[in-house]
Amino acid sequence: MLREAFPCLHQQVNGKPLVYFDNAATAMRPQVVIDAVTDYYCHHNANIHRGVHCLSGRATDLYEQARASLARLINAPSPDNLIFVRGCTEGVNLVAQTFVRERLQPGDEILISHLEHHSNIVPWQIVCQQTGAKLKVIPMNDQGELVLDNFDTLMTERTKFMSVVHVSNALGTINPVKELVQKAHAKNIPVMIDGAQATPHLKVDVQDIGCDFYTVSGHKMYGPTGSGVLYGKAEHLDAMPPYHGGGEMISKVTFEESIYNKVPAKFEAGTPNIAGGIGLGAAAEFIMDVGINTITEREDVLKKYTEQALQGIDGLRILGQAQHKSPVFSFLIDGIHPHDIGTIIDHHGVAIRTGHHCTMPIFQFFDVPGSCRASLAFYNTEQEVDILVESLNQAKAMFA
């Protein structure tokens, strides 16, 4: 069974079997990913792109094969469209500083949505402060879906960039990113998609979506921490100035000037997270081996089961009921604060997240300080959902 592939799932917490429903914060890693990391350290430990010696050659090959695996996973035209980054947050900051910043004049606008993670808000606020541009926000409705009725009027001739989340980490909403890209492109607005919560659960095809940039977070898609890739269209990556200066990103350095290397090296200054990149490649292969459709289908079943189970609890309210959504449930229970729920059910072995999930504006919309969030993955089970429900009932009893 696939669940067996994830060693960390098989343990007791507070004397109870672990029920891990915090996958949106970070996913579990399958043994093949852990092995890929260990294997590099134990057998191919060397720096990449540098040495004529054997280990260095092997490490370089593994690293570049990983890039190719990721390109296949998201259907990028070439591995050279992918830059290794620490995670989605670095991807957004990189694009904000190297692509967007220099295009902005005071009064220009950047469009994001009300569903964004802080990682897709704060980098734009920073670039707005730096340039005098303004942030505009696509609104959402009570279901947690974007309201696109007036979308065309939100895009003005001052709109220089749009960045929108593919799948909301707080509510699970799956946004119609292809449609958004088409509409923005019709007005010549380049678009970035924050794919942190998409690659672990959905088929992602960056060419079909048509976006200019797409950020992928490794640790959310069963890969190592500190790994991720930023996809960019070749013409953008070629034209952008580098982000970090350092080793590997240059082809010639004198004290007077430096000539930058080609993409993707231009954006990968210094020694990268080699083990992390190799492990992320293994995660991409793992997803393709299992089959992303298999994953989505299994998660759909789990999602329906969980929704029904939660709706059976008196006084429980689910925030975000989008028609298209991932197996993520933000909920509140009358009279019990989310943190208290989190602590109580942790005592029953159930790991959920409580708080604002780095999406404060969503909770400002719902006018609550936060929620409980149960975020599932394909390796979770119906039985685990039953344990969640049972433990929530215990919390209610305690506060009755």
Binding site: H337, H339, D340, T343, H347, G355, H356, M360, P369, F399
Partner: protein, 148 residues
């Protein structure tokens, strides 16, 4: 009694349901907001200080049972105390919640000492501390305090 039952003991649940000194008062002389960046907890503390004495203490905010109970008990404890003593109580409470602990806590902190059971839940210590940090900030003329 399990650790969990000690955490959510009767006093805590009672203060959570019927907090003392809850709500923004009509007048106050000192105010600060406590923010817990990570979990989003938020507590406002309002003090009316005259001649270095805390005449009244109130709190407001939407937070968890631990935080509510802590603030409710704290406002009860500090009302009528000198600002100097209140700062001393802050230090004592922090000390009690630290790994070293505070010997003689009940003597110094009275009923508030029952919150020592929160220490078994490291992720919740900040919930208990938040209102105290806000108190400290208010006494020092600062507008905000964070526990992280």
């Amino acid at each position: 009694m399990s650790d969990l039952n000690k955490l959510y003991k009767q006093q805590v649940l009672e203060h959570n349901k019927n907090p003392k000194n809850y709500g923004q008062p009509a007048h106050w002389t000192h105010h600060a907001e406590g923010l817990n960046a990570i979990c989003g907890d938020q507590v406002h503390v309002y003090l009316t200080i005259q001649d270095n004495t805390i005449e009244a203490a109130h709190f407001a905010g939407d937070s968890c049972a631990i935080s509510m109970a802590s603030a409710s008990m704290m406002t009860e404890l500090i009302t009528g105390q000198s600002t100097f003593d209140a700062l001393h109580l802050f230090a004592s409470f922090k000390q009690m919640m630290s790994p070293e602990g505070l010997p003689d806590a009940e003597h110094i902190l009275g009923p508030v000492a029952c919150l020592v059971s929160v220490k078994k839940f490291p992720s919740r210590i900040k919930s208990a501390l938040l209102c105290w940090y806000a108190l400290n900030a208010a006494l020092n003329g600062q507008a905000t305090a964070t526990t992280e």
